[in-house]
């Protein structure tokens, strides 16, 4: 058994996110706090109405970099489990694009680790978003930074 592999899991998925399944991955003895983050497709970005998004990943490197981020979170914060899943493909407004969850003994570590994971995933994991606008145009987003937090 690889303990690390069972307590920090990052996935890229074409299928919709099964949140109940991810939450079960966070169960462990001694858990007093669970913090979850859901990032959803918004109906607008910088004033332009958005109909849908396409996410594209460099899959092999994205999974390796995502896994690296979760291991960093486990090393930095006193947490029990950490999981993160990022969708790829076509997503409609309101769909969950990324989900991250952390369980810990106490809440400070759970909050800090969850925030760390989502900030680093957005900044480092090779995934790109193409926004499809209501007006018919579409555009790959390549922000200078990871954009608004």
């Amino acid at each position: 058994m690889n303990t690390k592999a069972s307590t920090a899991k990052f996935w890229i998925s074409e299928a919709p996110i099964d949140i109940a399944h991810l939450q079960r991955e966070l169960e462990a003895a001694g858990v007093g706090a669970v913090v979850c983050f859901e990032g959803r497709v918004r109906d607008h970005n910088e004033g332009r109405p958005v109909d849908s998004l396409t996410y594209q990943a460099y899959g092999e490197l994205a999974e390796a970099e995502g896994q690296r981020i979760l291991e960093e979170a486990r090393a930095r914060f006193a947490i029990e489990r950490v999981v993160c899943l990022h969708r790829v493909g076509e997503l409609a407004v309101g769909e969950v694009a990324v989900w991250a969850g952390v369980s810990a003994g106490h809440r400070a570590a759970a909050f800090d680790a969850c925030r760390y994971v989502i900030d680093e995933v957005k900044a480092r994991v090779p995934i790109w978003k193409r926004e499809h606008y209501r007006q018919g145009a579409s555009e790959w987003l390549h922000p200078d930074s990871a954009g608004p937090k």
Binding site: A57, Y58, L61, A97, V121, P126, I127, H142, D144
Partner: protein
Amino acid sequence: MNYRLLYFASLCDAAGRAEEIVASEAADVRALYSELAERHGFTFAPERLRVAVNGAFTDWDHCLADNDEVVFLPPVSGG
């Protein structure tokens, strides 16, 4: 030498393909990007890109070997 290139997001749009095999005399990553930027009209300055060789991040001075898989990564926008 032959390199296998993968293109993502707007670099894929600019190159008009998701991958290609390129025969090139470029010995390192920086020289290869310069050559491909000219061929495909890539407008990103190198400092806005990251680079991966054979599935791992590396730097612009990385020396290439025959059949390496090279990816220039435009600024990411996941989440």
